[in-house]
């Protein structure tokens, strides 16, 4: 490996009909912060490169530059207007391997350039699959659902990667991801195989898809200068047979903003999902509340009748990083342990009451009242008491 083989961070930008999705600027912001530090630490001139595909999207380049991009590699053509995985994958891979583009981005070491050093995608309905196929084509590593990134030199000893020897991997991207449970934080590394007995192989780019909302954009600077680089891809005629027939927004039918109270539930329903959700439903009705759920509930892991599951166990009700951010006057939450993913969606609620059998559940730390108990036991008592107190009020 020479100094020039792997350079820069390529950020794959997402937009819908020429409007940038917030995650695009968040990724650029994080890339900018990482690379300002990277360039000063390693005395280098590596760049933040925005990769932009679409049609009639020239106006986006300036916004991307103001938000931290040094270069924008743009493909503005009708063939890439629609979100078609196969076409976008091929075009992005062509950009990644193109030396001429690399030379325009930064002339230094350009003739040695092989591939980007790092690549960022969004962990959403577009980027999750796009990152997978791009990295399958580039044959390198991908971490998903990342919410923290650090670049460092790491002393690694690994049975396969290094054959047990200690080797310092320079400029390694530490990619942190939260697992399914929401309580384990895993660091993923993409490392070359430097094992003479087993395998010698370089893996670049080190790539990840990033959870929307995990990072902040930088403050836009209208004075920032950057390069706009037009790229002409080769498009396979055969791939143009894949056609988007229609694309429609479905208005999210779950409205949280117009409710004073939200009642949430999570995996605590597991012993009797059907019965517990019905209890929640009644309780929410009493309080004229909207019903929210934690992420695992939307994943079809628990079974209930179609009437209940199609109404409540759906992504549109998720409160958290991958759903709604809510701030009602009152949030009452049953059987949610309090994973970071959920907490970030509800912590702005004005008053929080949580019910959980485990007194040490992290949800307690974001609650004003923590009621210890199983939801199936506590819900009927609360409902009953609510009726009583309402009657008292009316009598007065």
């Amino acid at each position: 490996m020479t100094e020039g083989d792997y350079r820069h961070v390529y950020v794959v930008i997402e937009h819908i009909d020429g409007k940038l999705l917030p995650v695009s600027l968040e990724m650029l912001g994080e890339a900018r912060r990482l690379f300002d530090d990277f360039n000063s630490r390693y005395s280098s001139k590596e760049k933040v490169v925005a990769v932009l595909l679409g049609h009639n999207i020239q106006h986006l380049s300036q916004i991307l530059i103001e938000h931290g991009a040094d270069s924008v590699v743009i493909v503005d053509r009708p063939e890439v207007a629609a979100l078609i995985n196969k076409i976008h994958t091929k075009v992005i891979c062509q950009i990644c391997l193109d030396i001429e583009t690399a030379a325009k981005i930064e002339p230094a070491y350009a003739m040695e350039f092989k591939r980007p050093r790092y690549m960022f995608f969004a962990a959403d309905g577009i980027g999750r699959h796009l990152s997978s196929t791009v990295l399958a084509e580039l044959d390198s590593g991908l971490a998903s659902d990342v919410n923290q990134l650090i670049i460092s030199d790491l002393d690694i000893s690994h049975p396969v990667k290094t054959g047990g020897k200690h080797i310092v991997y320079k400029k390694t991207l530490e990619m942190y991801r939260v697992d399914f449970s929401g309580f384990l934080w895993t660091t993923i590394l993409c490392l070359d195989n430097i094992n003479e007995n087993l395998s010698m192989r370089e893996y670049s780019p080190q790539s990840c898809n990033i959870i929307p909302g995990a990072f902040q954009p930088i403050k836009p600077d209208p004075e920032r200068k950057g390069k706009v680089i037009e790229f002409s891809p080769k498009i396979d005629e055969e791939d143009l047979k894949i056609k988007v027939l229609s694309q429609k927004f479905v208005e999210n039918e779950i409205d949280f903003d117009n409710y004073k109270t939200v009642v949430g539930f999570g995996r605590g329903i597991q012993d009797a999902p059907e019965k517990n959700i019905k209890l929640i439903e009644e309780f929410a009705k009493q309080l004229n509340a909207q019903v929210g759920i934690s992420l695992p509930i939307a994943k079809n892991v628990f079974t209930a009748s179609p009437a209940i599951s199609s109404k409540y166990m759906i992504p549109a009700r998720v409160v958290g990083t991958s759903g709604h951010k809510i701030s009602p006057m009152l949030y009452i939450v049953f059987g949610v342990s309090g994973a970071m993913q959920h907490v970030s969606g509800m912590e702005d609620s004005q008053f929080v009451i949580s019910v959980n059998a485990d007194e040490n559940a992290p949800i307690r730390d974001v609650s004003d009242i923590f009621l210890k108990g199983r939801m199936e036991d506590v819900l009927p008592l609360l409902s009953e008491e609510l009726k009583k107190q309402q009657i008292t009020v009316q009598v007065k």
Binding site: K19, V23, A136, G141, S144, L154, F249, V250, E385
Partner: protein
Amino acid sequence: MSAGSISYNPDGTLNRSKTKNTLGPHSKIATQAAFYAKVKYGAKISVGSMSGHAANNALQIAMETCDADVLHLYNDPSFAGADTIGTAEVLKKGVEKMEGQMERKMDIVFSGHRATDGETGQTGPQIAWKLGLTFLGNVISYDVDLEKRTVTAKRLLNLRGVPEIIQEIEAPLPVFIAIDPSYKYHFNTVSLRLSAEKYKKEAHEKSQNYQKYIQTFNREGLGAEKTLIGLVGSPTIVYNVQRVPKGKAIRNAKVLDGSNPEHIQQTVTAIKEALSAMVIK
């Protein structure tokens, strides 16, 4: 036409032998989607699973769900510890093995939305890419035009900052479909419903003797390249696993006992106060 269904097990971050041996919920939905192709288009179905378990209950459930004709189990110590790309390589070889046995190419390969444990959602699209298939993700419904040899699929796109999007897409066969968790099949004619019943009955009977159908392949049997699978073929490693750092308590919760009537009373009083904005914090 023919269709295959892939259920994947752990992505290497977990100990396979300790993982529960059952069909994951997303893989089950993938087999339901394959069943639709069987009933509506008379597809022949092959199901493949990479697993450390010899007797595979997951394959039994898969067979019962979609009336599979062929069951494959991919099992070899060298598969262990693979990340998504190392896993995708084995499953690609599996699909090619199915195709070899049938002496024809797959028309559709289905996978679940995500593995329930590894949770990356990467393996499906990576198998698709390695097989050279058009990848359609988050598919909530699909239909095939047998004459034109095309698929029309509806996809649900979840993006932050805009409402959900439903995209209708048409693609020539063959395709790889990663099915959305919200997928449900509907048979809208009596004859389809009758034939669904017939296949279900057949599936139930066959699945009682599912072991008879299982063909097990190791690395050599699949012809998988040593350097492309398992730990050796995986670009990524899990460097560290830690508990998510517990944040500072941002609120100081009053801890009450849910079985104490007085505490229930206090809670309801707090509910009323919160709603009348009388709470001073």
